[in-house]
C-alpha cells in the first residue's frame, strides 16, 4: 500500500512570530483572534501552563501577564505568506501534495521502494526548518487517517524526534500505541461522537479499530465506518491535489467599536463583499445570490438586541464586485434598523457555479459582460500588484471607523516593504 505522510507545522502562528523574532524562542506566546477576542494559538510553553484554546483573552489576560506570556494580534498577512513558503518547499518532496489547511498537508510517498522514509522525512523537517524557521512534524502511515495519528505521536512523543512511521512498527507495537490514544484524537471523530463512543466503552483508537464496521455504520454513519476502515489500513480517502471549489464564500467580521449608522454598516458590508468577490473570481465562479446579516453584541445583555439576515437573489449570476455590492446594500437597507449598537456584519455568496457554465438569459448583454470582466481583471491585477484596496468602489468608504482592533500585531515582515525586518549592524 502506498504510504501517505501528513506534515503539520508545530504551533504554526506562534512559530511564524518566532521566525522573525528569535528573542521569543522558549518564551510563552499566544496569538489572539480578530479584535483580540480569544486565544487562537499557543506555544508549547502556554499549553504547559494550562491556558485552554479558545479562551476569551480578557479572562486570562491578568494570569498571562503574570507568567510573562507575550500576546500577538493575529497577523494573517504574515501567516499566509509563511504558509505559502512552507507548502512550496513541501511540494518539492512529492509529486502528490494535498494542502489540507494553512499549516498541514498530505504528501503521497509511493514509489520510494525500500528507501528509508523516516530519513527522507527528517530531511523534509530539516529543510523546512532551515528555509523558513518553522518546525514541522511528520506522520507516515498507509492511510490519511492513520497518518494524522502518526503525526500526533510524532509531535507528542519526543522519542520520535518529529517523525513517526507506523509502517516501521510491528502490529503488536502499533496496537499498544493506539490503545494509549483516545478516540477524540481520530480525524473525523468530533466531540459528540467521541462522547457517544466512550459511553459504549470504545475509548481508545485501538478499541475503535477493532469495532465491527457494520455495527458502526448502523449506530453512527457511513463516514465513521470509513474512518474505521482507514484505521485498519484500508485507504478510503484519496489525496486531493486540487482543492474543490468552495460552494459558498463567507466574509464576516466583528467591529472594533460598535457601529450605529447605516453609512458605517454599508461601508463594512461593501468591504466584505469586495473580499468575497475577489475570492469568487480567483476560483473562476459566479454567485447566484448574496446574503447579508447584521447583529448586535449578544454578550452585552444590557444593550437591546437585534439580528437580521436577508438573501438577495441576483438577476443573473455574476462575479462583478459592483453588482454584488449593490445587491448586498439593497439587502442591508431592507434589514437595517436605527437605534442599535451593531457588533458584527457579514455577507455570504451562494449558488456558486463555474463562470464558464453559467446559464444565460434572454437579457444578457454580452458587451456589458465582457466590459465587466475586463474591469474586474484590471481591478484585481492592480490590487494584487499595488496592495489591497488600491482600487476600490467608492461605497467602501475611506475612514473605516468600524475597522478591526489589532492592538498587538507584529509587522507584516514578508509582505510589506515598510515592515520588513530590521537587522542590526552594530
Amino acid at each position: 500500500m502506498a504510504p501517505v505522510a501528513l506534515v503539520d507545522c508545530n504551533n504554526f502562528y506562534a512559530s511564524c512570530e518566532r521566525a522573525f523574532n528569535p528573542k521569543l524562542e522558549g518564551k510563552p506566546i499566544v496569538v489572539l483572534s480578530n479584535n483580540d477576542g480569544c486565544v487562537v494559538a499557543r506555544s508549547n510553553e502556554v499549553k504547559a501552563l494550562g491556558i485552554p484554546m479558545g479562551e476569551p483573552w480578557f479572562k486570562v489576560e491578568k494570569e498571562a501577564k503574570r507568567h510573562g506570556i507575550v500576546a500577538y494580534s493575529s497577523n494573517y498577512a504574515l501567516y499566509g505568506d509563511m504558509s505559502a513558503r512552507v507548502m512550496g518547499l513541501l511540494g518539492r518532496f512529492s509529486p502528490r501534495q494535498e494542502i489540507y489547511s494553512i499549516d498541514e498537508c498530505f504528501l503521497g510517498l509511493e514509489g520510494f521502494g525500500t528507501r528509508d522514509l523516516t530519513a527522507y522525512c527528517q530531511t523534509i523537517r530539516q529543510q523546512v526548518r532551515q528555509g523558513t524557521g518553522i518546525p514541522v512534524s511528520v506522520g507516515i502511515a498507509a492511510t490519511k487517517t492513520l497518518a494524522k495519528l502518526a503525526n500526533h505521536v510524532a509531535k507528542k512523543r519526543p522519542g520520535y524526534d518529529g517523525v513517526c512511521d507506523f509502517g516501521r512498527l510491528t502490529s503488536g507495537e502499533l496496537n499498544t500505541l493506539l490503545d494509549e490514544i483516545g478516540v477524540s484524537e481520530v480525524w473525523g471523530v468530533g466531540r459528540r461522537i467521541a462522547r457517544r463512543l466512550e459511553g459504549m466503552d470504545i475509548a481508545t483508537v485501538q478499541q475503535l479499530r477493532s469495532a465491527d464496521c457494520r455495527w458502526i455504520r448502523q449506530q453512527f454513519s457511513v463516514a465513521l465506518e470509513r474512518t474505521v476502515s482507514e484505521l485498519n489500513g484500508i485507504a478510503c480517502i484519496e489525496i486531493e491535489e486540487e482543492a474543490p471549489n468552495r460552494q459558498q464564500i463567507i466574509s464576516s467580521r466583528s467591529f472594533g467599536e460598535p457601529v450605529e449608522t447605516l453609512q458605517a454598516l454599508s461601508e463594512a458590508v461593501c468591504n466584505y463583499t469586495t473580499r468575497a468577490a475577489e475570492k469568487l473570481r480567483s476560483q473562476g465562479s459566479v454567485a447566484g445570490s448574496i446574503g447579508v446579516h447584521i447583529l448586535t453584541n449578544p454578550f452585552k445583555p444590557q444593550d437591546t438586541q437585534y439580528q437580521r439576515s436577508q438573501m438577495v437573489p441576483l438577476p443573473t449570476p455574476t462575479d462583478d464586485t459592483r453588482q454584488l455590492a449593490q445587491a448586498a446594500l439593497r439587502g442591508l437597507r431592507h434589514i437595517f434598523k436605527p437605534g442599535f449598537r451593531y457588533k458584527k456584519a457579514g455577507i455570504m455568496l451562494l449558488g456558486l457555479e463555474p463562470k464558464a457554465h453559467r446559464p444565460r438569459t434572454l437579457f444578457d448583454d454580452p458587451a456589458a459582460d465582457s466590459r465587466s470582466a475586463r474591469l474586474m481583471q484590471v481591478m484585481d491585477a492592480i490590487n494584487i500588484r499595488m496592495g489591497q484596496d488600491t482600487l476600490k468602489i467608492a461605497a467602501n468608504g475611506i475612514e473605516r471607523s468600524w475597522k478591526m482592533r489589532r492592538g498587538m500585531q507584529s509587522p507584516r515582515f514578508t509582505t510589506d516593504w515598510d515592515e520588513i525586518p530590521r537587522i542590526g549592524a552594530k
Binding site: P22, K23, Q130, G131, P421, I423, G424, A425, K426
Partner: protein, 200 residues
C-alpha cells in the same frame, strides 16, 4: 401599357447562396486568365484553400498556433507598433523583460528581504538603510556575510573561523568582532546574497 415593376420573377434580395459561404469562406469574383496559366492558378488556389479551411488541424511542424493556455510573459514596452509603413527592425530581437527577482532571488520560498540598521558593515559595502536579500536555505560558509542571532537579536556580520573559534566580524574598524565562546553554537538565520541601495 403599364410600367409597374413585375412582382414575379427577377432577382429577389437575400436569395441564393450567402456571400462568403463558398469554398474560400469569403466573397469571390470572376477573372479572365490566359489559358496557359490556368493550371498554375488552380494549384495556387487549391493550396490557398487548404491553408484557410476553418477547423483545419495544423501540420506537426512548420506552422505555429497559439497555445490553449499561454503562460503570461511581460514584454518590453518599446515593442514597436507601426500601423502603416516600415516595421521596426528591432522587433525581431525582442525578448522577455529582465526580471530582478530572477537575478537576485535563487529560491523565493526561502528568500527574505531585510533592512540594515547601523554602520558596522560599511567595509563590505553594506550601509545603514540598505536592503539585504537573505537566503535562509544557504549554508553559512566562512567568508560569507550572514545574518546571525546574537543575544536574541538579528545581526549582520561576516563569518570567519580562526584557531577553532567562530568569529562574527564587523567590517568597520570602529566596531568590535564577536568571538563565540566554546560553548556557544553559531545561530545562523540566513546568508546574505546581495545588498540593494536606491540612489534616488
Amino acid at each position: 401599357m403599364t410600367s409597374e415593376k413585375p412582382t414575379r420573377g427577377g432577382s429577389r434580395p437575400g436569395a441564393g447562396r450567402k456571400p462568403g459561404s463558398g469554398r474560400y469562406g469569403e466573397p469571390t469574383q470572376t477573372l479572365r486568365l490566359p489559358v496557359s496559366s490556368v493550371p498554375a492558378v488552380k494549384d495556387f488556389l487549391a493550396a490557398y484553400q487548404a491553408r484557410h479551411r476553418p477547423g483545419r488541424v495544423p501540420p506537426a511542424i512548420g506552422v505555429f498556433v497559439p497555445a490553449q493556455n499561454p503562460v503570461r510573459m511581460k514584454l518590453p514596452l518599446f515593442g514597436a507598433r507601426v500601423p502603416a509603413g516600415f516595421p521596426s527592425p528591432a522587433d525581431d530581437y525582442m525578448e522577455a523583460t529582465l526580471d530582478l527577482n530572477e537575478y537576485l532571488v535563487q529560491d523565493r520560498h526561502t528568500t527574505y528581504f531585510v533592512k540594515v540598521k547601523g554602520h558596522s558593515m560599511t567595509g563590505a559595502g553594506i550601509f545603514d538603510g540598505d536592503m539585504l536579500v537573505v537566503d535562509r536555505a544557504l549554508e553559512p560558509l566562512p567568508g560569507k556575510i550572514i545574518v546571525a542571532v546574537v543575544d536574541g537579536e538579528l545581526t549582520v556580520k561576516r563569518l570567519a573561523f580562526e584557531n577553532g573559534r567562530t568569529i562574527l566580524q564587523a567590517q568597520n574598524p570602529h566596531f568590535k568582532d564577536i568571538v563565540l565562546k566554546d560553548t556557544q553554537e553559531l545561530q545562523c538565520w540566513g546568508v546574505v546574497t546581495s545588498a540593494i541601495r536606491k540612489l534616488v
